[in-house]
Amino acid sequence: MSGQDRSAAIVGIHEYPSRDVEGRVSPLQIKAHSAARALEDAGLSWSDVDAVYDAGEAGPMSGFTISEYFGIKPRVIDTTNVGGSSYEYHAAHACRDIAAGKAKVALLTYGSTAHSNMARIGAGGRGGHGASPSDNLETFTGMTLVANYAMVARRHMYEYGTTSEQLAEISVATRMHAMRNPEAVKAMQDLEFVDIRETTIDDVVGSRMIADPLHLLECCMISDGGGAVVIAAPEVLRNCAKPPVWILGSGEATGYPENGGDITTSAAAQSGAQAFGEAGVRPDEMDVAMIYDSFSITVLTILEDLGFCPKGEGGRWVQGGRLRFDRPQDGPALNTDGGGLSSNHPGMRGIFLLIEAARQLRGESTSQVDGARLAVAHGNGGMLGARHCAGTIILGRD
């Protein structure tokens, strides 16, 4: 892997442990708590931070409000918000800003109390008056978020013969990883999942239909939660406590409904090619794939779009449990923390993709892939079956 640009690395991570704060902790408090723990993890402090990245999920004008709340005066402020993929964009921008000499220590944070707020993220029906032209044409239909993704699954089945049993492989592998992660098990207990255990294909396809063809066990949870990531320049690393996890490549892209367009191909096809190209590595070299699992179909589509298999072959490719962490010869392990399906989904999961990928490359995962050297983290923000943003980050260890 010589010749790669290694200008910035993840040096600190923290995932907020609780998924149900019972209304007693605010999103800002989750962000600050996570930031402090991530800085400690890195062996750094607030005063070292000179760049802040924020999606504004805890309040408007977050560039200055979050800086004041943390008590820092950053030289770089980036408030990109592209939904759940925001944190992949933040990592890419932090890497760019550090490489340009604008910053040395970048802080990314996330906090949400979606569960405590009883936010009906998935089945809300998108009420109210349309704020945008597209909303004003679509709100009358009662399309839920689940139905939006379900329409991708339906078309994928129609074009390629993909089955619910194949999609269920994603839920089964993710739950298997969740059962090995005590925080994920606690999350499922706190959120009152029934019958918390490893699942089978039959369990998934036998669970209640939420929006055809997606079943309950193909849909992510709605939790509280948050986390933080610290990214630093090479000259900071000698002061850091943990080995660096290098950002080797990044890609950004957007997709939206187009007349005659292909709903089964997401913006990941563009962002993935960019990221892998920049990193100079191939999908088949990945040990770990952290892919935004809002729903089973999100992962299947993105696995294809990132180039793990040709378009339309994802269903057959995932069969037989190949996404499990203990089958490295079969390709990357998927969402080894238990994913949004079974561990943590407060609305914008992108930061956890970076955190678990970093754990894997440090050897700290509860479903550790032996000798993991390379990981891809791919965030999808917005709605896969309509307008969305894709952010791909390739990570590697020394």
């Binding site: 009906r120 009420g127 032209p133 004003n136 044409l137 009662g142 139905a147 187009e258």
Partner: protein, 138 residues
């Protein structure tokens, strides 16, 4: 408590207002560029195919094909929770626009719909606008 009703579009949204105003006459309108021929959907004030083109409004036949669909079984919305199960679909109009709507007029949406199925518009009347829903083509 009054029965919950379908959320209706705003007539104050500038890009889509001409579309919704035409629905009063049961016209399903879309835009096309006079210069480059690009069919523009959703409606807006500029052509997405070229930088100088002027858009004109056209009336679609109301016939199209289901590109993909889902049947919503669970909704927390006060109106839509009373409608489950109902079908939401991306529909390719014969003239090109891909629009989102509901498919109605079938006995069981979980069994009676398919990608590629031919559909046609069926208007649902409201005071200020009519809502273009779709049913299987006759």
């Amino acid at each position: 408590m009054a029965d919950a009703t379908r959320p209706l579009p705003s007539l104050n949204e500038l890009d889509t207002r001409p579309f919704w105003e035409a629905t009063k006459n049961r016209e399903l309108r879309y835009q096309k560029c006079n210069d480059c021929g690009t069919v523009v959907w959703h409606p807006r004030a500029h052509c997405t195919g070229c930088t100088g083109g002027e858009l004109s409004w056209h009336t679609a036949s109301g016939k199209g094909t289901i590109y993909t669909f889902s049947v919503v079984r669970q909704s927390y919305h006060p109106f839509f929770r009373t409608q489950v199960p109902y079908a939401v679909a991306w529909i390719d109009l014969d003239e090109g626009p891909r629009l989102l709507s509901n498919i109605v007029g079938v006995e069981d949406p979980t069994r009676d719909l398919a990608c590629g199925q031919r559909v046609e518009v069926q208007w649902e009347e409201h005071e200020e606008v009519n809502i273009p829903l779709f049913k299987p083509a006759s």
